[in-house]
């Protein structure tokens, strides 16, 4: 077992353990331990985590607050537990992504590792395309676009990305076939 696979298994075990903890105090303690173990990157990971969950957690929390108050079933500990759990799982995911080379962690399942590599490479390509699209829009726009223009631009951009994704997926599949991946002999 390589180092990356080991950390992937630790992560999966931690996720499983986290879902079995129902006491906010224990989950808070787990949060604290993870923050301490994360080392010098802990603040960066924490910022990233908070940015990722703030909208989702706020929406869910406010929704729960309204519904539970109306039904007189509000439980602060439960709300805290939900927020801590979502935050903790997100933090763990970011921590894993920063420490572990995921395709290498999946070395025990070569097809899964290939799939992940292709997906990641494709995501990078499409992100670059999306950024180019945004920059091109900015360079061709004299005044800030109206909401209607923004919607039209986003739709055009999404269409372009989708078209490229379809084309790239076809190319990747052909390349895999060309190199004999689907001939049933793969190592």
């Amino acid at each position: 077992m390589n180092r990356d696979t080991f950390w992937l298994l630790i992560y999966l075990a931690a996720v499983l353990a986290g879902t079995l903890v129902h006491d906010p105090l224990w989950l808070g303690a787990a949060w604290l331990v993870c923050l301490l173990l994360a080392g010098p990157q802990r603040l960066r990971l924490l910022r990233k985590t908070l940015a990722a969950i703030v909208l989702f957690n706020l929406t869910v929390s406010v929704g729960y607050l309204i519904v539970a108050s109306a039904q007189h079933t509000f439980a602060g500990a439960y709300l805290l537990l939900v927020n801590l759990r979502v935050g903790w799982l997100t933090f763990l995911a970011f921590w894993l992504a920063s420490r572990v080379h995921l395709p290498r962690a999946l070395a025990f399942a070569p097809n899964l590792a290939r799939l992940l590599t292709v997906a990641y490479a494709m995501t990078l390509r499409l992100l670059r395309l999306h950024q180019d699209h945004k920059l091109a829009q900015r360079s061709r726009t004299l005044a800030p676009p109206t909401l209607q223009e923004r919607i039209a631009m986003s739709a055009a951009g999404a269409g372009h990305v989708l078209d490229r994704a379809t084309h790239a997926a076809t190319e990747v599949t052909q390349a895999m076939r060309s190199r004999g991946l689907f001939e049933g002999n793969q190592p």
């Binding site: 990641y120 990078l124 052909q174 390349a175 076939r177």
Partner: protein, 266 residues
């Protein structure tokens, strides 16, 4: 080695396109390529060069006509037979225009070793290391391929293909994304290969470095010329008709005149 007879192919049209009968990509292509021959496939964008290479690699099956490789028919059915498919894939390799489409392994080492492992060749990892060294990729053995530069990806894709020692190498616009130094390296590298080459390009200046026989695909998707490269490059009318050269307006003081122009080859 390669025999195409009356090969025609139409790509299916996408929803919303005006013509639902399919887009003609190749029309009645007859072609013979002998072992160790070096063929340069010339043509403007959209004339069917990539489609022809994909047919030669068994990735697209023509709607009409026959393709035989070393005397054996390459069809949907034959490619489904494991023995034939394995033999064919071991002998024919295609370098895609965008090499990143070909890279699907977590590390450079695994990418190169994949082919030899699959074919049961001896010492796949040693072979991969040797090819990586040959291509100047030794320091990237554990790097994910998607993190390499464009030129490095091109070299990696070539290493991955050549590690299985194919007899026929098909290259689709191999210099399209390379800087001048990488282009020079690739041209020199290909010159030293002792296998059959079919190289698609529209860079006329490189053509003499890549092969001695030219096949020009016209915009009607048929073969407009098949013969010595020198003869093709000397025929300006042919090049203009195939959209490989154009007329260009020049201004000298007050006078303006037009003449033929091949931007990268004079």
């Amino acid at each position: 080695m390669i025999a195409l007879d009356g090969v025609t192919l139409r790509h299916p049209t996408l929803p919303g396109a005006p013509n639902d009968a399919g887009v003609l990509a190749l029309d009645g292509i007859d072609l013979r390529v002998a072992p160790k021959e070096r063929v340069v496939l010339l043509g403007a964008n959209g004339c069917g060069k990539s489609t022809l290479l994909k047919i030669l690699d068994g990735l697209l099956i023509p709607g009409a006509g026959d393709y035989r490789f070393q005397g054996e028919a390459v069809t949907q059915a034959s490619l489904r037979q494991r023995d034939f498919s394995r033999r064919f894939r071991a002998q024919v390799a295609l370098l895609f225009q965008h090499p990143e489409a070909m890279l699907f392994h977590p590390t450079v080492l695994e990418e190169i070793a994949f082919g030899p492992k699959q074919l049961g060749m001896e010492g796949p990892e040693d072979r991969a290391r040797a090819w990586a060294a040959h291509m100047g990729l030794s320091k990237h053995l554990e790097t994910p391929p998607y993190l390499l530069s464009g030129g490095e990806k091109q070299r990696l894709a070539l290493a991955a293909l050549l590690a299985v020692e194919p007899q026929l190498l098909l290259l689709d616009e191999p210099t399209a994304h390379l800087d001048p130094r990488a282009t020079g390296w690739l041209v020199d590298f290909l010159a030293d290969l002792d296998i059959t080459l079919v190289v698609a390009t529209h860079v006329l200046s490189l053509a003499p470095e890549l092969g001695s026989r030219a096949i020009i695909l016209g915009e009607d998707h048929r073969i407009a010329f098949d013969g010595p490269l020198e003869a093709a490059l000397a025929d300006l009318d042919l090049l203009v008709a195939a959209n490989l050269a154009h007329t260009h307006r020049h201004r000298h003081g007050d006078s303006v005149h037009r003449h033929f122009h091949v931007h990268d080859w004079d």
